[in-house]
Symmetry: C2
Subunit: 439 residues, 2 copies
C-alpha cells in the first residue's frame, strides 16, 4: 500500500474551501482512482478566524504560504491565493525547489512566471499542474498536453472569458447596449467593479498565451498577444451579424501562419453554424484544429468555485498517480521564443460598418476605394433606418448604415481603403471593423 498523498493548501477562499470539501467527500473514489489516499494535512489563509464551514480538525495551520511550502510534512503544494507575484510566486518556487509537486489555478502567475517555474519542476521531476487556470473544469490543458500529443496543431481558438460572452450574448438577445449589459454583469457578480481586465481582453490574452505554448511549443508570452476588447461593439453590429449568418464573440486565437504563430484577442465574427457560435452566456469553449482531422471543441464552465475546484482536484489526483507530464508539454528549453504578430499583415475576411452620408455617391466611392486595394466584397447590406432597403436611394437625409463583408484580404489593405473613404468625406464618424474567423 502506497502512503497517502499529503496535500497543503494555500488560500481558503471559494475555490480553496471547495477543494477541501471535495477531497473529503470523494475520499473513497479518489483513492480508488489514484491507488492511494489523498489527504489535506496543512492549510494557510489570510484569516484563520473567518467562518468557513469546514472541518479542519487535525489539519495544521501554517503561518503563511512560504512556511507551508517548506513544510516537510506535505508532498503537494496547492496554491489558490491568486496574484501574479508574491507571496504566491515565492511559495510555489520554494515548494518546487524542495521537491514538492505544485497545483495552481493561477493563470496570471502561470502566464507571467510559468516558464521559470516549469524549469524548477522539470529539474526536480515534480509536477506543476494548472488545469484550472484556463477554462476551469474544461480539460483543455490536459487535452493539449496529452490528448493531442500525437497531432500537429494548426489553430486553437476560443471563448475564454465568461464576462465578455455574457455581455455579448445579452446584447445580441435583447438588443441592449454594452454599458447596460456590463452593469447587469456587475450586479450579478459576473464582472468586477473595475471590468477592464475582462472586457478589454487581457484575461483572455493571458489564457491564450498559455494555450498557445501548449499547442505550438512557444514560450508563454502575454506581450506577444495582440489585444482588443469588446467595448466598441454596438447592438447594430450584432443585428447585422445575425442577418449575415454570423455571431460576434470575443475570441482568443492562436494560429500557425507562414510568418509564425499569430496570437490575437479581439471581437470576432464567427459563422452561426460553428460550435463556438452556439456558446452563450458565461460558458467557455475552445476549438482545436489538428492537422488532417476535423476540429475538436470543448465546451463548459470557465469559472466558478465548484468548476475550478473540480480541475484542481483532478490535478491533485494526477500528482497522486505519479503522472509527471512536462508542464508545457515539452521541456522548457525546447520552447521557441515568439514575437507579436504584426496585425497589419493579418489575413482574413472583414466585417465593415460605415455611416454613409449620401448613399448613391458613397456606394461608388467605397467600391472604388476597396477595388484600389484589391479587396473583393462578399456581401453588402444597405438599409434605411426605417427598414426599407435603399441601395440606390439618393436622398440627403441622416446617414444610413452600410455593411460590407469582404473576402479574405489583409488588414493593411482594409485600413488604407477605409482611410481613403474617410478622406473622401462620404461617411460620417469612424468605420467599425470586425475580423471574421472561419471554421
Amino acid at each position: 500500500m502506497v502512503a497517502p498523498l499529503k496535500v497543503g493548501i494555500a488560500g481558503l477562499g471559494t475555490v480553496g474551501a471547495e477543494v477541501v470539501r471535495l477531497i473529503e467527500q470523494q475520499a473513497r473514489i479518489l483513492s480508488a482512482r489514484s491507488g492511494r489516499g489523498v489527504r489535506v494535512v496543512a492549510v494557510t489563509a489570510r484569516s484563520k478566524a473567518k467562518k468557513r464551514d469546514l472541518d479542519l480538525r487535525g489539519v495544521t495551520w501554517a503561518k503563511n504560504a512560504l512556511e507551508l511550502a517548506h513544510d516537510p510534512a506535505i508532498d503537494c503544494f496547492v496554491e489558490l491565493m491568486g496574484g501574479s507575484g508574491d507571496p504566491a510566486l515565492s511559495a510555489i518556487e520554494a515548494a518546487l525547489k524542495s521537491g514538492k509537486s505544485v497545483v495552481t489555478a493561477n493563470k496570471a502567475l502561470i502566464a507571467k512566471h510559468g516558464l521559470r517555474l516549469a524549469k524548477w519542476a522539470e529539474q526536480g521531476d515534480v509536477a506543476l499542474n494548472f488545469e484550472a487556470a484556463v477554462g476551469a473544469a474544461i480539460p483543455i490543458i490536459k487535452t493539449l498536453r496529452e490528448g493531442l500529443a500525437g497531432t500537429g496543431i494548426n489553430r486553437v481558438y476560443g471563448i475564454l472569458n465568461g464576462t465578455c460572452n455574457y455581455i455579448l450574448s445579452r446584447m445580441e438577445q435583447e438588443g441592449l447596449s454594452f454599458a447596460e449589459c456590463l452593469k447587469d454583469a456587475q450586479r450579478l457578480g459576473y464582472a468586477e467593479a473595475n471590468p477592464s481586465f475582462d472586457v478589454d481582453g487581457h484575461d483572455t490574452a493571458q489564457k491564450l498565451a498559455i494555450l498557445a505554448s501548449l499547442a505550438f511549443g512557444t514560450k508563454v508570452a502575454q506581450n506577444a498577444v495582440y489585444v482588443e476588447g469588446i467595448s466598441s461593439i454596438k447592438p447594430e453590429d450584432l443585428r447585422a451579424a445575425e442577418e449575415l449568418g454570423f455571431r460576434v464573440k470575443l475570441l482568443g486565437v492562436a494560429v500557425r501562419t507562414a510568418k509564425g504563430i499569430e496570437q490575437r484577442v479581439h471581437p470576432t465574427m464567427v459563422p452561426k453554424s460553428s460550435s463556438i457560435a452556439q456558446v452563450m452566456g458565461v460558458t467557455n469553449a475552445v476549438t482545436i484544429d489538428g492537422e488532417g482531422i476535423p476540429p475538436i471543441t470543448l465546451v463548459g464552465p470557465g469559472a466558478g468555485g465548484a468548476a475550478t475546484a473540480s480541475a484542481v482536484v483532478a490535478d491533485i489526483v494526477d500528482v497522486a498517480r505519479g503522472i509527471r507530464a512536462k508542464p508545457f508539454g515539452r521541456p522548457v528549453e525546447r520552447l521557441r521564443a515568439t514575437s507579436k504578430a504584426p496585425m497589419e499583415r493579418h489575413e482574413g475576411g472583414y466585417y465593415i460598418r460605415l455611416m454613409a452620408r449620401d448613399l448613391a455617391g458613397t456606394a461608388a466611392t467605397i467600391a472604388t476605394r476597396l477595388a484600389q486595394q484589391k479587396i473583393s466584397i462578399e456581401s453588402i447590406v444597405q438599409r434605411h433606418p426605417d427598414g426599407v432597403d435603399a441601395l440606390v436611394a439618393n436622398g440627403k437625409a441622416s446617414p444610413v448604415p452600410v455593411i460590407l463583408v469582404t473576402y479574405a484580404t489583409n488588414e493593411d489593405a482594409v485600413h488604407h481603403a477605409l482611410e481613403a473613404v474617410q478622406r473622401d468625406k462620404v461617411i460620417s464618424g469612424r468605420p467599425q471593423v470586425i475580423r471574421i474567423e472561419k471554421n
Copy 2:
C-alpha cells in the same frame, strides 16, 4: 537519456498505416513531449505484399499478431486489427502478460473483454489505453479517467455513432426518409452494406458501456444497455421536433438514478438550444454532467483514419511518458456489477405522435386516458395534413396527426395510457413514442 519506446503494430489498414506515418512525421515533437524517442520497430498485417506507401525499411515483419505480442524487442503492442475475439484478444493478452503496454482502438473487444484485459494490465503495472475506441480523436476516455477524476458524475450522454447522426441530420434538413438517407450514407461510405450494427444502436451501446464504466465505476456490460435504433423515425417526427423546439438524436445515455445506473441507447428528443443538438452530420459529441458543475461537452470527429490514429498516437505517447492510469479509472476489483435498468420504470418526458381517426372524440379520449395514468401534457399540436390547425374540427376525413409532449412521467404509465387509447379505437396504426432528454 531514456531509451526510445519500441512499438509493434498489428494491423496496417487505414488507421495502422496512418499511425506509422504520424510517428515518423512527428518524431521530433513526440520525443520532446514524451522525453524519449518513439519508434515503430515491428509490424504485422494480413498481407505483407499489399502496396501501402509506407517506408518500412528496418522494421521487422512478424508472422502474426501473437508472434508480435511475444517479441521481446517491443515495449508497446498496438492492436489495430479489430474484431471482438481472436486473434486480437489472444495477442493483447499475451502482450500484457509479458509486461508490455497495449494500445488499441478496438471498442468491440474492450466492451466484451476489457475487464479481463485490464486485470492483466494492473497485475503487470502496464498500460491498456483505448482512447480511440470511443469518439476517435475526442479525448473522452482521458477526460473521464483523469480530467474529471475529482468530480462525481451524474450523467454522461452523447452522439457516439456518426452514421446515425448523419442519417438523422439529412432526414431533418432535407425531409427525406430513413431509407433514402441510409442509401446515401452507404454510397458515401458512412454506413456498412449491413447497416444494422450502426442503425440499430449496437455500436453506440458498446461505446456507452465503456463510458459508463469510466464515469460510474461499473463493470463494462454491453448487455446492461437498453437498445433501440433509429429505423422507425419518420420525417414527420423531425418536423414536429423542430416545431416543438427539439431535435432528434440517437443518444447513448448513462445516468445515476435512485434505482442504480441506467444505460440506454435510443432516439431522443433534445432541446434545440443544447450543445448536443447543434452537432450535425458524422460528428460525435459527449456531454458530462458533473456534481455541482455545469455540463461539459466535447465535440469532434468520431471516426476516420486520421482522427483515430491521432488518439492512438496520443495513447502511445502516454505509454512513453510512463503514465499508468488504471484502464477503467479504478482497479477492476473495485468496479461494481450493474444490471439492465428496467425501462418500464424510466422517468422522463415523452413525445407521442398518433394518427387520430376523429379529432373531436380523439382529443377527449386521449386526455382522459393520460389523466388516468396521471400524465400531464406540456404541449399538444394537432394539424390537418393541409396545414390548417384543427383542434376542434370534427370532420370524418383521413386520420390526422396529433402530437403530444408530456411532462416527466414514467414509461409504464405511457404504455398503459397508449394501450387504452388503442383499445378505444380512436387512432389508426401504432403510436410513435420518443423519449425526451433534458439538458
